[in-house]
């Protein structure tokens, strides 16, 4: 096994016991990047010198007995919406030509403080306003979409080019690419991870979170990110919780809600079967399955659009007027059309969210978490624009990808996507576990227990040399 193949937990243990050095870890990741980047294009920039310098520093510190914790010397990627002092934050957009961040975002500063070695910035769908990340290629199939908008982060982690990466999630942008590339993605509770210094898509829906190869790794990274940040108005104090799941797999007493509506409607049969098998596995581990009905589903899309569209347009107000031609065509027209939405529409969406949040709170009193597909279909071929469901209805690919993930953004509840198998084409399938606000520990415990039953997908196939 090469060092780049180690999970965060394995690498941390290897560093702690001095069986692998941070320099070896980082060099292995950089060699892996050199090998996969021409094929997968996950990174906007590779920061090799910076990573090596951090690794050497970590090695010196460890030799002096200074151990910063489980992320010390671990190679990581950051979605290129996340500011790192001295580096451009490109947002994968020509609009950002010449940009250079003056200061670290809160999450970049916290990871640096934890000793993480930044190996590169990863591609996003332009300004996070899309679900495919067209610059990047799916880690499992060269002709399939990476998913988005944190496509570069998901592909980098799946391919072993980073032990973990951060992404952002406004309607599903961590969980969608995580599902499509067979990795774990965690959208934390709204406000739990600070967004200061992270380019916004829609303030009231934006979240930052980890993409990892295991649930345990997601817990380790989350622990380094939480804590109140006064420069993010939504930021909350870190709960007094140990996120790292224990070794046990007994889920006795855990109440798992299984939706009777919405989450299994218009879902590919292979995806549904894999997720229901995974839910059955949770039951075998002791969980009690409880039927739940998802409230207000008729208004999910309307509320998501009513919030996201005007907020995104507001964020880009100045540049849309100054340099409109520098935006990609798909993003530009959404930003322009967003100017024509009324304040009344926006307020209705805000009020609908109030009702939805309350209704979800009521629903979540009866269960500890809800299990459902992350996305209704696996990674589509690049260029495919729509999907036709069994009843003849047609849905655009972005609408399909965001449909099942958006409710957790509207309600702010945490959602963890875990791989639950492959379809007949060899493409990964994801299941999401959604919990109560600040209920991350329950999701991580259940996801980890599920994973411990031997469900890991392993690495994506390598192309023939």
């Amino acid at each position: 096994m090469q060092p780049y193949e180690l999970t965060v937990a394995e690498a941390a243990e290897a560093v702690r016991t001095r069986t692998v050095s941070p320099v070896e870890l980082v060099n292995s990741a950089l060699e892996r990047i050199a090998r996969v980047q021409p094929r997968l294009r996950a990174f906007t920039a590779v920061t090799a010198d910076r990573a090596r310098a951090t690794a050497r520093q970590a090695e010196t510190e460890l030799a002096e007995g200074i151990h910063r914790g489980p992320l010390h010397g671990i190679p990581a990627g950051l979605k290129d919406l996340i500011d790192v002092a001295g580096l451009p934050t490109t947002a994968s957009s020509r609009v950002r030509n010449g940009h250079r961040a003056q200061t670290d975002s809160t999450v970049a500063a916290r990871l640096a403080s934890a000793g993480t070695a930044l190996v590169g910035k990863t591609h996003t769908h332009e300004f996070a306003y899309g679900l495919t990340t067209p610059q990047t290629v799916n880690a499992w199939h060269p002709e399939r979409v990476a998913g988005g908008s944190s496509g570069g982060s998901a592909v980098a982690v799946a391919a072993g080019a980073a032990a973990f990466a951060l992404g952002t999630d406004t309607g599903g942008s961590i969980r969608v690419p995580a599902a499509l590339n067979g990795v774990v993605g965690l959208k934390p509770t709204y406000g739990l991870v600070p967004r200061h210094g992270v380019t916004s898509l829609a303030w009231s829906l934006d979240h930052v979170g980890p993409l990892t190869r295991t649930v345990e790794d997601a817990a380790l990274v989350l622990a380094a990110l939480v804590g109140h940040e006064p420069r993010d108005p939504a930021s909350t104090p870190a709960p007094a919780v140990d996120y790292r799941p224990g070794p046990g797999t007994d889920l006795t007493g855990l109440r798992v809600g299984v939706p009777g509506n919405y989450y299994f409607d218009h879902v590919d049969p292979e995806v549904e079967a894999a997720v229901r098998r995974a839910i059955g596995r949770l039951e075998e581990l002791g969980a009690r399955l409880v039927d739940v009905e998802i409230p207000m589903t008729r208004y999910i899309r309307a509320t998501q659009w009513g919030l996201m569209v005007p907020e995104a347009t507001a964020y880009h107000e100045r540049t849309l007027r100054e340099v409109p031609d520098l935006y990609g065509t798909d993003v530009r027209v959404l930003l322009e059309a967003g100017e024509l939405l009324s304040a009344g529409d926006y307020l209705r969406a805000q009020r609908a969210r109030t009702l939805m949040r309350q209704a979800w709170q009521d629903m979540l009193e009866a269960v500890d978490l809800i299990a459902a597909p992350t996305v209704p279909l696996t990674a589509v071929n690049v260029g495919r624009t729509s999907v036709t469901w069994g009843d003849g209805s047609v849905e655009s690919v972005p609408e399909a990808y965001v449909r099942l993930s958006a409710p957790a953004n509207l309600t702010g509840v945490p959602s963890l996507s875990v791989p639950v198998g492959l379809d007949a084409a060899g493409l990964p399938i994801g299941m999401q576990l959604m919990g109560r606000p600040f209920g991350e520990a329950a999701l991580l415990r259940a996801g980890h227990a599920y994973e411990r039953t031997g469900t890991a997908l392993g690495p994506p196939p390598e192309p023939a040399a």
Partner: protein, 69 residues
């Protein structure tokens, strides 16, 4: 096209009122996209909101701003 849909010239005029002058070759595409968004979002008019306030939240202490896209 429904009665409430914007024609391309109307979309251009509304955009201009928002301070966004649109080149003529943008009018039709922006009108079509705006109409689609409007159709989706208008569904919320079915809801009886009662006394429900908007979910937008802020902290009274305030916070410093970070600028520049």
């Amino acid at each position: 096209m429904s009665a409430s849909d914007l024609t391309p010239p109307e979309a251009a005029r509304w955009a201009a009122r928002s301070g966004l002058p649109l080149a003529p070759d943008r009018h039709a595409e922006v009108a079509a996209t705006a109409d689609h968004i409007h159709a989706v979002v208008s569904l919320l008019r079915e809801l009886d909101f009662g006394d429900a306030p908007p979910a937008a939240a802020y902290r009274v202490e305030g916070e410093p701003y970070d600028a520049a896209v």
